[in-house]
């Protein structure tokens, strides 16, 4: 096969792998906005803490393995999210302009969480062991087993999520709330409880993303902002609140990012994301408004 085509496909594969992690995190951000209309500026901090929890487990128990880590950390992140919602966000909802107030409160929370991490773990980047080692070579391309695992895990998560939303009672309640909140109240859905679950769901998702991406990048206290911005742009691009849009956007933009990195170098990656964002603002602000799909 032509060397160029081979390289290009390699780049695309790399993009797809990253996209899978971003997709999970994007769903979390989209869901929490779509259902409870909350914009969580501490989202990146939950990402970081998810990774740190995983690190603590690995550092403390030498027999630790990834399946166990997921089993422990993901529910922990879920409950952390529910707790945060109850303590920090819930009482704000009945105020005027609660959305902007929530943004400010979660910004404060982000600083609290990031600096807590700095105090507890120190500023040195922490590594996570790779999920798997080695690589496979399907059709002559190189795909590390790690990346393949990440892709598979992400796909599984997305499938489970969509089954959850369409088949379970709670999932259908969430959909109902996202389509008409008053209608959901009228029908007797316990709104407050569902908001709580939604927040927990979003932190669980972003925590999962944190664990998946951590072996690639080192974990640092303020390291959540870059992923947060990427996910923010993805969700804006795809439509705030639209799961399908988020998925499309995640894959499209991650593949583009992969090309940018390959062709222009890593320093152009962040400017790329900013340009995309400017583009969204300029040409498709409805991406930010949210569409339902």
């Amino acid at each position: 096969m032509n060397i160029w085509v081979q390289q290009i496909i390699q780049v695309i594969i790399s993009g797809i792998v990253t996209a899978s992690a971003y997709a999970i995190m994007g769903i979390g951000l989209s869901v929490i906005y779509g259902i409870s209309r909350v914009f969580n500026f501490a989202y990146g901090s939950f990402f970081t803490w998810g990774a740190y929890f995983a690190w603590i487990l690995f550092a403390t128990f030498s027999w630790m393995n990834y399946p166990l880590v997921f089993l422990i950390v993901v529910p922990a992140m879920f409950f952390l999210g529910m707790g945060t919602e109850k303590v920090v966000v819930r009482s704000l909802r009945w105020r005027k302009n609660w959305q902007v107030t929530t943004m400010m409160v979660t910004l404060g929370l982000a600083f609290l969480m990031d600096n807590l991490a700095l105090v507890v773990f120190g500023g040195f980047a922490k590594p996570l062991p790779p999920l798997f080692s080695g690589a496979i070579n399907p059709f002559g391309f190189t795909l590390s087993v790690q990346d393949l695992a990440m892709l598979i895990i992400a796909i599984v998560v997305i499938l489970v999520f969509s089954l959850f939303m369409s088949k379970t009672r709670v999932g259908r309640c969430m959909q109902a709330i996202s389509q008409d909140m008053t209608g959901a109240e009228i029908v007797g859905i316990p709104i407050k409880k569902i908001f709580s679950y939604t927040f927990g769901l979003s932190t669980a998702l972003v925590g999962t993303g944190g664990i998946l991406l951590a072996p690639r990048y080192f974990i640092t206290p303020h390291g959540g902002w870059a992923p947060f911005f990427r996910v923010f742009v993805i969700v804006a691009f795809g439509g705030l609140g639209s799961i399908r849009g988020t998925l499309y956007a995640a894959f499209i933009l991650a593949i583009f990012e992969s090309f940018v990195s390959w062709g222009l170098g890593a320093t152009w990656v962040m400017p790329f994301w900013f340009l995309v964002f400017l583009g969204v603002l300029a040409f498709r602000p409805s991406g930010l408004m949210g569409t339902w799909g």
């Binding site: 969480m113 105090v119 900013f274 603002l281």
Partner: protein, 334 residues
């Protein structure tokens, strides 16, 4: 009728600031902090006015500050324009950017403006770095910005007193404009709008136009402080757009929302002195500030619009004549 309480507090604060150097002139460190207090306090006050009184939820004020700072810095450094004029140009540039952004934004609902302006805030820093070839100085920053001068006397970096009084005068003027706007027909028009859009619209008050006007004005005023800061600091960099400063000024604004008009300005002093006090704690410093933000917001019954409530009742009768119907009292979605 006597002066409003806001005016009294405002003037009293400046009276104190006027005479403070008499006691503190030997302590350059404190004078320096006071100058930054005035700069950021004024900025927080303008922000507070824009958010709390005019109801425009913007997180883009730092963008204006920095745009004006860079504009003033660059025109004075490269084109030799007088710094005072530079500050004005900086302010106007910020106002222009404000109006350009405001044109599409002011039509949107509150939280979307917040999201978009916050995202814009995040975008300015990389844009400055990318514009390095144009002379912005990239990530290292714009250096050797000309100092202010009055007549033959050029301010120096060692004697801060002239800087102090310049900051005093400029921030006073900025806040005076804010004060006048709040209590003018424009300001009252806003209160009418905040209460009942439909009714106020029947009176012929054009919400969009007002919001755009206020947004541009707030950009201008913030820009003035930014322009001044550029010359005072001599060096500016994209660090000014860091979220840490953002958090501090946001806190000042939140404090301002707990009280009446000059509250945010006072908040500037409180927060920056607290910042100095906590400096030895390093990482704990922002941990504490993050916690303070959360606590402060939760403690405020009406959020940053708290003072609007007091204000609302006094002016409602004057403007509207009768109570109007507003939205439901329960939480609303967008």
């Amino acid at each position: 009728m006597g002066m409003r309480q806001e005016l009294i507090i405002f003037l009293a604060m400046y009276l104190v600031l006027l005479f403070l150097p008499v006691f503190l002139y030997k302590d350059a460190y404190v004078i320096g902090i006071l100058i930054t207090c005035m700069v950021w306090g004024a900025m927080a006050s303008v922000w507070n006015f824009t958010m709390g009184y005019a109801g425009i939820f913007t997180f883009g004020q730092f963008g204006f500050f920095v745009v004006a700072a860079y504009t003033s810095g660059m025109v004075t450094k490269y084109l030799g324009i007088s710094p005072w004029l530079g500050i004005l140009i900086g302010g106007l540039m910020a106002a222009l950017v404000g109006v350009l952004i405001g044109l599409p934004c002011m039509k949107l609902k509150g939280a979307y403006i917040a999201l978009i302006t916050f995202a814009l805030h995040l975008v300015v820093a990389p844009m400055i770095k990318v514009a390095d070839p144009l002379g912005t100085g990239g990530s290292t920053g714009l250096m050797s910005i000309p100092k202010l001068s009055i007549g033959a006397y050029t301010f120096s970096r060692t004697d801060l007193i002239p800087w102090y009084y310049s900051a005093l005068v400029i921030s006073f003027l900025v806040l005076l404009v804010v004060y006048k706007t709040i209590f003018s027909s424009v300001g009252l028009g806003f209160i009418g709008l905040r209460d009942s859009e439909d009714f106020a619209k029947t009176l012929g008050i054009n919400e969009y136009k007002y919001k755009l006007l206020v947004f541009g004005l707030s950009a201008f005023l913030t820009g003035i402080m930014g322009g001044f800061y550029a010359h005072y600091a001599g060096i500016i960099s994209p660090r000014l757009l860091g979220l840490d400063i953002f958090l501090l000024v946001m806190l000042m604004m939140i404090i301002g929302g707990m009280g009446i008009f000059p509250g945010a300005f006072l908040g500037g002093f409180i927060i920056l002195f607290l910042n100095e006090f906590l400096r030895p704690l390093e990482a704990y410093r922002f941990l504490i500030f993050g916690a303070i933000v959360i606590v402060a917001i939760k403690l405020m019954p009406e959020g940053i619009l708290g003072h609007l409530h007091i204000f609302k009742n006094r002016t409602r009768k004057r403007l509207l004549g009768r109570p109007a119907e507003a939205e439901s009292t329960r939480g609303q979605n967008i």
